[in-house]
């Protein structure tokens, strides 16, 4: 596997579809990872600096703000994974298929 002929490797690297696949996936991967981490560690930071504010109830409900935020965060994390999977299933798998089709010839 490692000893792929270098001509072949160069050909794949230069391939526009392959480059689109790599850069598109990398962008989505790193954006979503950073958002996830910022959200979680941001929430932890919020807990240590604004504890009291998280205890206040949201208008018209008995649910404290911190609680609502945590529940929402669970949902947002699932949506993030959903976005990544959806985008990969439709766009990136398609691109990978195209790269292989081109190279298969």
């Amino acid at each position: 596997m490692l000893q792929a002929p270098s001509g072949r490797t160069r050909e794949i690297l230069a391939d526009a579809t392959f480059r689109e696949l790599v850069s598109g996936r990398a962008r989505l991967r790193w954006i979503l990872s950073i958002l996830t981490l910022v959200m979680f560690f941001g929430f932890i930071a919020l807990v240590s600096v604004a504890k009291a504010a998280l205890g206040t109830s949201i208008a018209g409900s008995a649910l404290p703000l911190g609680f609502a935020l945590a529940l929402a965060m669970v949902a947002v994390l699932v949506v993030f994974t959903g976005i990544y999977v959806q985008r990969s299933n439709t766009r990136f798998d398609e691109l990978a298929r195209a790269v292989k089709r081109e190279l298969g010839r």
Binding site: M1, L2, A4, R8, T9, I12, L13, F18, L21, V22, R25, R29, W30, L32, S33, T36, L37, F40, F41, F43, I44, A45, V47, S48, K51, A52, L54, G55, S61, A62, L63, P64, G66, F67, A70, L71, M73, V74, A75, L77, V78, F80, T81, G82, Y84, V85, S88, N89, F92, D93, A96, R97, V99, K100, L103, G104
Partner: protein, 564 residues
């Protein structure tokens, strides 16, 4: 105390209150035949699964990965089953019962690891490896040294996690079914060795799937029954809980667990990146056909874990609201006094179990007890298999014999390793019965976050990583985690008996993880050897395989031809 509770809940589920009491049977209701019948049924079903899987373990692919033939949905459930331990089910609901909102935050930390596993690990891992995560870590690096570091990291994580789980299992089973601690630990040990030796990954997977389904159904049933009491209003449930709880309305706001930022961030790092470095979780991605299937399985697993993140706080708060007014669930003194947290019969970890009794009598109690038991079995089986494959595939198969060992011999080694790991873990669980083992699960997660994760992530994503860097970084993370945990309060004070801790935080990840990354970088950029140059060049081939490797099941053959 709070910090210790937290660490204990991390791995097992046993604050010292439960250790000290050791009262057989929840609530002292005498042998509960319904619970014991369901327990026997659980064992019987898992053994049937194992027996039926026996034929599939004759090849390496069959034994380690169930022939890469598990579907994404099945693997998603199995992965959730592998991950959600008794710590998640009993421990986090106990944490919510005792501390309220902080327990919820903790669950959130467990969940946050999953998107990271999906974005960074699952697809590349599947494309680059076949059996263990060391395959992917050592893909373009030195097969001997990098694999040895990865296998060592795996074994340390597996052993500490396994011992912590087994001790918890012994205690839970003792309380649930009135079986003696030693018998309970030996029983679980024998079962997990049997699953792995006889049924390999196939049996382990189906035990985990059954457990995940049981846990989801049981948790949902219990949460619905509890919410029904409060007209399905979460606000009303929280209000009732805060009215009766000794900490009052303080349980609805963040408390002491995450108050101190350094400890909180360190714990957060261990929870998030530890999940992304657990060998038994990473191994699950090889059971599916390709990277797309691996990605889909993480999605299903994330949904299960997220769902549990919503259910578990409901159980904890409901247990507080419903159990605390009832003295019959507590060890009441002669004067009629009891502590609403520490005096819960069996300790706070039994909160969900008591809640089951309060909601549905002996039948629901029996069912939820069986669910807790199945939860334990699935996790220890996954850990044993991951440990055995690190020994047989990585250390014996690649390091010692350079990949030249026959399949038959490697599988023999694997079974001997599973037996040895099982026996060692049972012996240590027996030896540590009355010790404070709060540090073990925390150590397992920090090693996963500080050794396994940095080596794997850098090898897969950074062209500049060389063998020298990966080995130095992995060892630095491993050694730093172990040393800092030993110097922290959980070992230095609680186990070794020194008056004050040298390292002031409970979790070392904030220090050990960056150290590992720093070492990988430093020892890679200063590496001017010819081997380093070759490894840089090989990154291109690795990148291509990690991107389009086995992205499509049907094209594997043509791709293999294209790549060779």
């Amino acid at each position: 105390m709070i910090a210790r509770c937290l660490l204990v809940a991390l791995g097992v589920a046993f604050p010292s209150a439960a250790l000290a009491q050791g009262a057989p049977m929840v609530g002292g209701r005498g042998p509960d035949w319904i619970a014991i019948a369901m327990f026997a049924l659980t064992v019987a079903i898992t053994l049937l699964i194992t027996y039926r899987s026996a034929g599939s373990t004759k090849s390496k692919a069959g034994f380690y990965t169930a022939g890469h033939a598990i579907t994404p949905l099945q693997n998603g459930l199995a992965t959730a089953g592998d991950f959600l331990s008794a710590a998640a089910f009993l421990g986090i609901s106990a944490l919510v019962y005792a501390n309220g909102f902080d327990g919820f935050l903790y669950a959130l930390g467990f969940l946050t690891g999953w998107p990271i596993v999906l974005f960074l690990m699952s697809e590349r891992m599947r494309n680059l490896g076949s059996y263990t995560f060391a395959d992917a870590a050592a893909f373009r690096l030195d097969q001997t040294s990098v694999r040895l570091v990865a296998a060592t990291g795996s074994l340390v994580v597996v052993l500490f996690y396994l011992i912590a789980q087994l001790i918890g299992a012994g205690k839970v089973i003792q309380l649930l079914f009135g079986i003696d601690y030693v018998l309970a630990v030996v029983g679980v040990g024998v079962l997990m060795i049997l699953y792995v030796i006889v049924g390999g990954m196939q049996a382990t997977t189906w035990v985990q799937i059954s457990k995940a389904v049981l846990l989801l159904c049981g948790g949902t049933l219990l949460a619905l029954a509890a919410l029904w009491h409060f007209d399905f209003s979460l606000a009303r449930l929280l209000e009732a809980a805060s009215r009766i709880h000794p900490k009052g309305a303080a349980i609805l706001v963040p408390g002491g667990l995450f108050a101190e930022p350094v400890s909180a961030i360190s714990l957060g790092l261990a929870l998030v990146f530890g999940t992304a470095g657990l060998p038994h979780i990473l191994m699950r991605f090889f059971t599916v056909s390709d990277a797309a299937a691996a990605r889909k399985s993480v999605f299903y697993a994330t949904m299960c874990v997220a769902y549990f993140c919503w259910v578990i706080p409901v159980l904890g708060f409901a247990a507080a609201a419903i159990l605390m007014p009832e003295p019959s669930y507590f060890n009441v003194t002669a004067s009629g006094q009891f502590n609403k947290i520490a005096d819960l019969i069996g300790g706070p970890n039994m909160a969900s179990i008591h809640l089951a009794h309060a909601m549905g009598g002996p039948v629901l109690l029996g069912f939820i007890s069986a669910v807790a038991f199945a939860t334990i079995l699935a996790v220890v089986a996954g850990l044993t298999l991951a440990g055995a494959s690190a020994v047989s595939h990585d250390i014996y198969g690649q390091v010692l014999t350079g990949g030249k060992a026959s399949e038959h011999r490697e599988l023999l080694v694997s079974r001997i390793a599973a037996m040895a790991i099982g026996v060692i873990a049972v012996l240590l669980a027996y030896a540590f019965e009355n010790q404070n083992v709060a540090f073990m699960a925390g150590l397992a997660l920090s090693v996963a976050a500080s050794c396994n994760f940095p080596v794997l992530a850098m090898a897969m994503f950074w062209r500049g990583t060389t063998t020298r860097g990966a080995v130095a970084g992995g060892l630095a993370g491993l050694v730093a985690s172990v040393v800092l945990v030993v110097l922290s309060k959980t070992v230095w004070v609680a186990v070794l008996g020194f008056p004050s801790a040298v390292f002031p935080y409970d979790n070392p990840a904030l220090f050990s993880m960056p150290l590992a990354f720093l070492f990988v970088w430093l020892f890679s950029v200063t590496d001017r050897s010819a081997r380093a140059t070759r490894e840089h060049e090989a990154f291109t081939a690795q990148l291509i395989q990690s991107e389009i490797g086995t992205a499509l099941a049907g094209d594997q053959v043509s791709l293999a031809a294209a790549g060779s």
